[in-house]
C-alpha cells in the first residue's frame, strides 16, 4: 500500500503512523524531518512542482516496493510556510522484518532529497535565502544506485 501526500497542512503524525501500521507488519520504520532552528533560522518556505512532485514520490515508493519486501510505504511532505521545530517530511515503511523496513526508509529519504522537486528558502528575520543543494546529499542518494 502506497500513501503519498504533499500538503500545506501540518503533518498529523499519529494518524500517519496508524495508517502505516499494517496487519502482518513485524517492523515499522519512520523518519521525520524537521525545520532546524540553528544558525539563526526563523522560518522556512517550501516550494514544489505540483504534479511532478507527487509523481516522483509515488515513483520512489514503487522503487522501494520493487527493491524490498514491503507491506506499506507512506510519504508525507509539507509545503508552504513553516517555523523551526515544524515537521517537514514523514516517511513510514512497514515490512515483515526490521531490515527491510529500516533500509527502505533510509533509501526513501536519501532519494527524496535529490529526486523530488522541492526547494527550501530560509528566512532569518527580514533576510531570505534559497538553500543550496549539498554534495553529501547527492552522495547519500547515489549510494543506492
Amino acid at each position: 500500500m502506497i500513501n503519498v501526500s504533499v500538503q500545506p497542512a501540518p503533518i498529523d503524525l499519529v494518524s500517519e503512523l496508524a495508517a502505516v501500521e499494517i496487519k502482518g507488519a513485524g517492523g515499522i520504520a519512520t523518519f521525520i524531518g524537521t525545520v532546524r532552528g540553528d544558525d539563526g533560522v526563523t522560518g522556512l518556505t517550501l516550494e514544489h512542482y505540483p504534479g511532478m512532485t507527487e509523481g516522483m514520490l509515488i515513483a520512489l515508493a514503487e522503487e522501494a516496493f520493487a527493491r524490498w519486501e514491503l507491506l506499506g510505504v507512506t510519504i508525507v511532505h509539507r509545503v508552504g510556510e513553516m517555523a523551526p521545530g515544524d515537521h517537514i517530511v514523514f516517511i513510514g515503511t512497514a515490512a515483515a522484518h526490521r531490515k527491510e523496513a529500516l533500509e527502505s526508509c533510509a533509501y526513501l529519504i536519501d532519494r527524496l532529497k535529490t529526486e523530488a522537486p522541492f526547494w527550501k528558502r530560509e528566512t532569518r528575520g527580514d533576510a531570505a535565502m534559497w538553500v543550496e543543494a549539498k554534495a553529501n546529499d547527492l552522495d547519500a542518494s547515489e549510494r543506492w544506485t
Binding site: 524531518g33 516550494e47 512542482y49 511532478m52 517530511v89 529519504i109 522537486p117 522541492f118 526547494w119 543550496e132
Partner: protein
C-alpha cells in the same frame, strides 16, 4: 511550449510560468536557456549560469543537452533541496 520556473529562477525571471514559441534552431534545453536569456534582464539574470540550473521535460528530469522533441512543458529550476 509552456515554461515553468521555480525558486530563485522564478524570482529572477519575474514570473512562474509563460508560453513561448522558440525557433527551430532551438533543439535542446541548453539552446532554450540561451534563447530565453535574451527575453528580458530578469531572464538574463536567472539563466546566466546554466551549470547551476536543472530541467524537466513533461515532468521528468533531463540533462541540459536533452532534445526538446515534442515537449509540451519545460521546467527550469535550481538543484532540488527537499526532505
Amino acid at each position: 511550449m509552456d515554461l515553468l520556473y521555480f525558486a530563485w529562477v522564478r524570482e529572477r525571471v519575474g514570473t512562474g510560468a509563460e508560453t513561448v514559441d522558440p525557433p527551430e534552431a532551438v533543439v535542446n534545453v541548453a539552446d532554450l536557456i540561451c534563447w530565453l536569456s535574451e527575453r528580458s534582464p530578469g531572464h538574463a539574470a536567472a539563466l546566466a549560469e546554466p551549470a547551476h540550473l536543472r530541467a524537466a521535460i513533461d515532468q521528468r528530469f533531463v540533462p541540459l543537452d536533452a532534445p526538446l522533441g515534442d515537449a509540451k512543458e519545460v521546467a527550469i529550476f535550481p538543484p532540488v533541496t527537499g526532505g
